[in-house]
């Protein structure tokens, strides 16, 4: 007779993952008192009621020229994604051979689209060039990485069957590219959906996409109009497979050129001054090393900002994990009751998850911010709900592909014994992939007034202190690359990720 092992003792993979997860949650709880989680508004419920009212009874009549906003949003997303793919593809071909290319791609994708937009705004103004560059540059880095990963998994059979002496180009065209074409295309499609969300967000810096009108409607309390705009956006995403059909795309791209409008006039001398002087600290340009120290010291609250960014990212990651664990059964067939009621329940669960994941996290945070006041609480909620719902959706789809060994178990038994042990490695891997994205979003949420790095980046741009803005952007990118490296180490290995969701 042997004694039963104690709490969490044992070497099984499930227990190892459980220990790791609990350690992460414990760290988060220990650090939680450091976060500013005050509730700063007196009566959030009335405001929430008005917002929900706006969502249920949208004021369609109040919209002015919504078609222009939609057309610009789609145009920017289309061309931004297309140009990103055009730049990313050649980079993907040399991705695994050059450390420089890998570093460059990691850097450009570590900076959020909106920060790129803030940077280009200084040079190209509120023009389509700013919007396109803001999407194209980070997407090139993302495409390079993901395409390279897909290309690496090309089946080798056809390649080995080619006659001796076949050239590299021909080999690639016939025996490699067609084999992965479907996966490349489906990832590009997914990225286009992300591009639509990013294009909406560009409204927050003043480009007249859907986000611009959404922001002002919310800010001025015109919730009926905001509701109508949100429904327009959900409709756009939900009907994507219909209007974004492969055959329609060339036509759409041509039409998009019209909406992107003429190129802005760029003053060459100003551009050169911006790149050669404004972006760099004056002491650095003057070769004054001692002055550089003083310049560094003049940046307000650098360390607290970094601390807040990392803390909020950790909280967001743990929050997403909890939300995903709670919400995935909503959309899974294993937990829906029998008959019509069950089907309805599952459809509603799905709809809720799709809405949560389609709403851009900045939008979500903005709404919570209006409700709860400018502390870390709304940011935390937004990050956890958006990312948690996204992961819950993928996990539910994974779960629906599994069949139960003991279908007669009750719901908690099904959850804890049948499904979770099989789903959890994948779920945790998704969370780890997502941690990098969450950090990038955390920095971004600073633009709403939460004291993360983004807040200081945004205000540096506002006060035209471009050297400081660039420095903070570099710090943000560095943090992002660091977190990416850490989470890659932490994530469960040998988990087949069927969805390239990051």
């Amino acid at each position: 007779m042997s004694a039963a092992p104690g709490w969490l003792r044992g070497d099984s993979p499930g227990l190892t993952l459980a220990r790791r997860t609990l350690a992460l949650v414990a760290i988060c709880i220990v650090l939680l008192p450091l976060a500013d989680l005050r509730l700063l508004t007196a009566d959030p419920w009335t405001e929430l009621g008005r917002m929900l009212q706006g969502l249920v009874w949208p004021a369609w009549g109040a919209l002015e020229s919504p078609f222009n906003a939609i057309a610009l949003t789609v145009s920017v997303a289309l061309w931004g994604t297309f140009l990103g793919a055009m730049l990313g593809f050649p980079l993907a071909l040399i991705f695994h051979r050059s450390r420089w290319v890998r570093g460059f791609c990691a850097f450009v994708r570590a900076i959020h689209e909106l920060f790129w937009a803030l940077l280009f705004l200084q040079v190209f103004g509120l023009s389509a060039v700013t919007a396109l560059a803001a999407l194209t540059i980070p997407y090139a880095g993302i495409f390079a990485k993901v395409y390279a990963e897909i290309l690496e998994l090309t089946p080798r059979g056809p390649r080995d069957a080619l006659p001796h002496g076949t050239g590299r180009t021909s080999r690639f065209l016939y025996a490699e590219l067609p084999l992965v074409w479907g996966r490349l295309a489906s990832y590009t499609r997914y990225r286009f959906e992300c591009g639509l969300r990013a294009s909406v967000l560009l409204g927050f810096v003043g480009l007249p996409t859907l986000g611009f009108y959404l922001e002002s409607a919310f800010r001025e309390g015109r919730f009926g109009e905001a509701g109508a705009l949100l429904w327009l956006f959900y409709g756009l995403i939900a009907s994507l497979h219909w209007w974004g059909h492969r055959r329609l795309l060339p036509l759409l791209m041509l039409a998009a050129l019209f909406w992107l409008g003429p190129l802005p006039d760029v003053d060459g001398a100003l551009l050169w001054r911006f790149v050669s002087q404004d972006l760099w600290p004056a002491p650095l340009l003057a070769g004054d090393v001692a002055g550089l120290g003083a310049w560094l010291a003049s940046i307000p609250d650098l360390l607290p900002a970094i601390g807040n960014t990392l803390l909020l990212a950790l909280m967001g990651t743990v929050g997403s994990l909890v939300v995903a664990l709670l919400l995935w059964p909503l959309a899974s067939r294993h937990f829906a009751g029998p008959g019509v009621g069950g089907r309805l329940q599952r459809s509603l669960g799905r709809l809720a998850l799709v809405m949560l994941r389609s709403t851009p996290e900045l939008m979500l945070a903005f709404i919570f911010l209006l409700l709860l006041g400018p502390s870390m609480l709304p940011a935390w909620l937004a990050l956890s709900l958006h990312n948690g719902a996204l992961i819950a959706f993928l996990v539910a789809r994974h779960a629906d592909g599994l069949s139960l060994g003991m279908p007669d178990l009750n719901a908690s038994g099904r959850y804890a014994y049948e499904l979770l042990p099989r789903l959890y490695p994948n779920l945790l891997a998704l969370i780890c992939y997502r941690a990098e994205v969450i950090l990038r979003e955390t920095a971004l949420l600073g633009m709403l007034g939460i004291a993360t790095l983004g807040f200081y980046i945004d205000s540096s741009f506002e006060y035209l202190m471009f050297d400081q803005a660039l420095f903070l952007l570099l710090i943000t990118a560095g943090l992002n690359m660091l977190v990416d490296a850490v989470s890659r180490r932490f994530r469960p290995r040998d988990v087949p990720l069927d969805e390239p969701c990051t």
Partner: protein, 237 residues
């Protein structure tokens, strides 16, 4: 003057030797069947032969090695990919080459793929894919045919017809297969591999089914039994 010969050669993948101290030679003009259970080293031997013969040999790999998204025409065209420039190959993907099209079409008709030349390989049955793989090898137009189980997905009757096409177009052939009766009736020589060595190498006229069954560990199997088991194995894979 042999086409190819090995003296005391260790064959394998990297450090792992599959066929130690192998000595074999092949003559031009003979049709050789390679027999032995899966994992006996047939593929290892064939890939070494392919390496040595380089562009003298046409090659039909195990598991077809076809590209599902491309049409039958493009898959067959791949047999001569090295004889055109990269630009010509690129254009051919967009608009089929005028010289190549009728040749490929005739070849496909001959192998029983009438009317399928435009269809993507993904939409074909296992047996049809097998024929495309063979058509691609024939399109290479070489003296020697090397095949690694090229008849794995077709029935014995079709295998016989395909083999006739192969022999008509190639002076020499070296083919790994599991169909014992076909090996005895249609080939000049049988090489049997087992436990990392050649345990049988003889002209077919001196052999009968019992000799071939000895190549398998379960030697008591009858011919019918071994045929079904090989079919079952293919079905399962």
């Amino acid at each position: 003057m042999p086409l190819l010969s090995f003296e005391d050669l260790d064959l394998g993948h990297g450090a792992q030797v599959v066929l130690p101290q192998l000595s074999l030679s092949f003559e031009a003009g003979e049709h050789v069947a390679l027999l032995g259970q899966s994992g006996a080293g047939k593929s290892t031997l064939l890939s070494e032969i392919r390496r040595r013969l380089a562009s003298q040999a046409a090659w039909c790999p195990q598991g077809h090695g076809l590209v599902p998204l491309l049409s039958v025409y493009h898959n067959v065209y791949m047999g001569r990919l090295e004889r055109h420039s990269a630009l010509a190959n690129l254009l051919n993907l967009l608009h089929p080459n005028r010289q190549a099209w009728p040749v490929v079409e005739a070849l496909c008709d001959e192998l029983g793929l009438e009317g399928l030349i435009r269809r993507p390989v993904a939409a074909l049955s296992g047996g049809q894919r097998q024929r495309v793989a063979i058509a691609r090898a024939l399109y290479q137009a070489r003296h020697v045919f090397l095949g690694d189980e090229p008849f794995a997905s077709v029935d014995p009757h079709q295998a016989l017809r395909l083999l006739e096409h192969i022999k008509r177009r190639h002076e020499t052939s070296i083919v790994a297969l599991h169909q014992h009766r076909l090996a005895l009736q249609e080939f000049d020589r049988v090489i049997g591999l087992r436990d990392g060595g050649v345990i049988l190498d003889a002209p077919t006229r001196k052999l009968d089914i019992a000799h071939l069954d000895a190549l398998y560990p379960d030697a008591a199997q009858t011919e019918a039994g071994s045929e079904t088991s090989s079919q079952a194995r293919i079905g399962a894979s």
